[in-house]
């Protein structure tokens, strides 16, 4: 029920609520004023009874029997004393709080995302539930004003808690995006800072109240305050680390451990404060064997488990760190200098690194976070646990079945779905030994020879490394050479000495661009004769239409080269502006689909009439025309007008083409 009520709280209702509250307040003020006037006229009757309640105010204010002060005091006394007036005031306070929340939301967060709404809803009801238990179950509040005070206190705290939760959610969301405006960060951080200040102020207030009301009340009040402070601080620190890291070029070697320890400290602090708070409630309240104690016990159990889990995780962390420091030395500067590789985990430059027994290097923090969840080398999968002896003995056993040269292992591989064992140390001392259950994971388009070869991620990464230096070399050639040399350095030397040449039929080579084919031939398409239609047809099909013209279909046959040019012209740059990147990506996708359609149509056509000689002529024409279609997108009014007429003709042809295609399909 209350959930549904909260669901239906859009702005118009908020407006009416505010209006209502204001009206109520106005009437209450009016009522109080009436009473005040009455009281001042006959001071003896009502004023005395009010004095008791108003005494706080009168004590603090220097009492002067002037007329205005007198009336203000009486007025306040009436406002506080009259049950109707006080409820209106409380209502008004809540209204203000909600309005404040709305304002902050508008100013800092904008529209809330669905998950954020869900989170604050959960948080809100959770908070209300536990505080209800606390006020009525634990404190066993009897008096009205006591209850109102507690409610006010928890309302403010709950409000701040929700804001912090919102800030945390939003921060996590913002950290998904590389292009958040600086202004958003500033607003978020200033909100968090003001929450922190408020919570510190509230903490001082607790202390003041605690001096009067005793230690227990202070502890109860302060617990929630401290929790709030800890959570806010946590978000702020994480936020700052994130911003600092993201605006910093290169790697921040210690980032991982900073992150880890802030997380650990803050989480443990929050958990232990919460735990103590609940324990305190349980022991103080004398509420064993009641509903409240049950709820608190459940919560205690949960908190305890959380703490245990955290500590366990930390032990694991320490173990990993210790293991790393003991077994994997930091690489010397010479090694790092000679190593051109980036860290395989974060793809960042290596300035300091740890070396695994298999000679693979990673950043300290990258390696640590990987080892927390796995115990093998990310690159070559060598097991890094202490059971190295057993794995090496296994490898020895297997060497008998593995022939000496790597090439000779191919027969083994041809029987699929069999275990394949590879003892790398026979070839190079640092190569790993491992066993692979072979399934079909060949790279597409690779030569058959490659498909049969050893497929380790290591070879692959080595090849990639070489290819990044020599983009003109097809990867399969590099792979072949690597399989023989087993060393990146030797292969690089081979390439440099031109012992290794890019094979002419290299299929995976992606860099063969032919810039000479970027003709702009669409100039002559403004006339509507049939001849010119042939001319621009290549580009036309690229827009997804089907054409009924025989020559047109021919002409669209083999122009993949030019279409590739289109792709490359988009792909050859990586814009700094996120929106431009999005646009380019979209265009690339469109052109890929168009190209695929074209190809598909061509294939269909080839299948349906395979003996075609006029094909070649069309080929020549099309290579030029199709490449122009995408590269001259939107080049002015003239162009767009032409396109409009094209559009009309195209749709007519589309229908005809569809019919034709269907009949073709029927034939083939």
């Amino acid at each position: 029920m209350p959930m549904m009520f909260l669901d239906r709280m859009p702005l118009p209702r908020m407006k009416t609520y505010t209006m209502l509250s204001l009206m109520l307040l106005a009437s209450a003020v009016f009522h109080a004023h009436q009473v005040t006037v009455q009281v001042l006229e006959e001071p003896e009757s009502v004023f005395d009874s009010d004095r008791k309640n108003a005494s706080n105010v009168t004590d603090s204010v220097e009492f002067q029997p002037s007329n205005t002060t007198d009336s203000v005091i009486t007025f306040l006394g009436v406002m506080v004393d009259d049950p109707w007036c006080i409820w209106t005031l409380i209502n008004m306070a809540y209204c203000c709080l909600i309005l404040l929340g709305k304002g902050i939301q508008r100013l800092v967060f904008g529209d809330l995302r669905v998950s954020e709404q869900q989170h604050i809803k959960d948080k809100f009801w959770n908070f209300v539930f536990y505080k209800f238990i606390f006020v009525f179950g634990v404190m066993n509040v009897q008096y009205m004003n006591e209850m109102v005070l507690w409610c006010a206190w928890f309302s403010v705290l709950g409000f701040l808690h929700i804001l912090v939760q919102l800030g945390k959610d939003r921060f996590e969301y913002l950290s998904f995006s590389p292009s958040t405006p600086r202004w958003t960060h500033i607003r978020m951080l200033s909100l968090l800072a003001s929450i922190l200040l408020t919570s510190l102020a509230l903490l001082t207030l607790c202390t003041l109240v605690g001096l009067h009301a005793g230690l227990n009340t202070f502890a109860f009040m302060a617990a929630e305050c401290v929790l709030l402070t800890v959570r806010t601080l946590y978000v702020i620190v994480r936020y700052s680390i994130h911003l600092w890291d993201f605006n910093k070029k290169g790697v921040w070697e210690n980032r991982g451990s900073y992150m880890y320890y802030t997380e650990l400290v803050f989480e443990l602090a929050a958990l232990s404060v919460d735990f103590c708070h609940h324990l305190h409630m349980l022991l103080w309240g004398n509420i064993f064997l009641s509903m409240a104690s049950l709820v608190i016990c459940m919560q205690l159990r949960y908190l305890f488990h959380e703490m245990q889990r955290r500590v366990k995780k930390h032990k694991n962390y320490l173990r990993v760190v210790h293991h790393m420091e003991a077994n994997y030395p930091m690489a010397s500067y010479d090694v790092i200098d000679s190593n051109i590789d980036d860290c395989a985990i974060c793809w960042d430059k290596m300035e300091a690194a740890r070396v695994l027994p298999c000679n693979h290097m990673f950043h300290n923090s990258c390696l640590r976070s990987w080892l927390e969840q796995d115990t093998s080398c990310p690159t070559c999968r060598t097991s890094l646990s202490d059971s190295r002896s057993s794995s090496s003995s296994q490898a020895e056993e297997l060497t008998e079945t593995v022939p000496d040269t790597p090439e000779a292992t191919t027969p083994n591989r041809q029987q699929r779905n069999h275990f394949f064992h590879f003892d790398g140390s026979r070839y190079m001392p640092w190569l790993p030994s491992f066993s692979v259950e072979v399934t079909h994971t060949q790279l597409l388009g690779a030569e058959p020879q490659l498909q049969q070869s050893i497929q380790t991620s290591q070879l692959d990464s080595m090849a990639r490394q070489v290819q990044s230096m020599f983009p003109h070399m097809p990867i399969n050639v590099i792979m072949d050479d690597l399989r023989v040399t087993r060393s990146v350095e030797i292969t690089i030397e081979n390439i440099l000495d031109e012992r290794l040449l890019p094979a002419p039929s290299a299929q995976l080579s992606r860099t063969g661009s032919q810039p000479s084919e970027t003709l702009s031939t669409q100039v002559s398409t403004s006339s509507s004769t049939d001849d010119s239609m042939i001319f621009y047809a290549g580009g036309d099909i690229a827009d997804g239409a089907f054409l009924d013209n025989d020559e047109v279909l021919h002409s669209s046959l083999p122009d993949t080269n030019s279409a590739e040019n289109v792709l490359e012209s988009f792909g050859s740059r990586f814009s700094k502006c996120p929106t431009e990147r999005e646009v380019i990506l979209q265009k690339r996708k469109e052109s890929l689909v168009q190209q695929a359609r074209k190809k598909y149509m061509a294939k269909r056509h080839r299948q349906s009439n395979s003996g075609s000689e006029c094909c070649q002529q069309g080929e020549l024409q099309s290579t030029g025309s199709s490449s122009s279609s995408n590269q001259h997108m939107g080049e002015g009014d003239c162009e767009s007008r032409r396109r409009n007429t094209l559009e009309q003709r195209r749709s007519a042809m589309y229908l005809a083409a569809r019919q034709r295609l269907e009949s073709q399909n029927g034939l083939s």
């Binding site: 974060c346 990987w370 796995d374 779905n417 994971t441 999005e582």
Partner: protein, 167 residues
């Protein structure tokens, strides 16, 4: 965690843009959320999926690349290693810890040295050569094994559909 994942994803996006593998395009649709990508995969040549352009969605975890992304085809697919709802089931997408199928050795599972590009290339080769031993779609595996022609026809249909061509 998200910071380092973001950096790595940015690097991969850049690499995939500047040096794209043939027939593959991938990148975040909306850069407000860099952890949600869309990829277009062209069906490999000389297979039944030849020529089709299949859109798929990649969802990255916060601790990427320590954990693998999830991949799901956004179009209708009929393939032994693709669940009927589009989720892709290949070993490279499985974290070393979990093994829903129980068939894979950890060597071909996810590791941080894998990348979006390698995943997509593996998916392309999966399209070329379904592995019907650990089938995610039992029906597809059955058709693939027993009625290859029927499978090819269904695939052809999907290819046409993916290109927006009439059936």
């Amino acid at each position: 965690m998200a910071g380092s994942a973001l950096k790595r994803l940015m690097a991969e996006y850049k690499q995939l843009t500047l040096n794209p593998p043939e027939g593959i395009i991938a990148g975040p649709i909306d850069e407000e959320n860099f952890f949600q990508w869309e990829a277009l995969i062209t069906g490999p040549e000389d297979t039944c999926f030849e020529g089709g352009v299949f859109p798929a969605q990649l969802t990255f975890p916060h601790d990427y690349p320590l954990s693998p992304p999830k991949m799901k085809f956004n179009c209708e697919m009929f393939h032994p290693n693709i669940y009927p709802d589009g989720r892709v089931c290949i070993s490279i997408l499985h974290a070393p810890g979990d093994d829903p199928m129980g068939y894979e050795s950890s060597a071909e599972r996810w590791s941080p040295v894998q990348s979006v590009e390698k995943i997509l290339l593996s998916v392309v080769s999966m399209l070329a050569e379904p592995n019907d031993e650990s089938a995610a779609n039992v029906d597809a595996a059955k058709v693939w094994r027993e009625d290859r022609d029927g499978f090819n026809k269904l695939a052809e249909k999907l290819v046409r559909k993916s290109l927006g061509l009439p059936q």
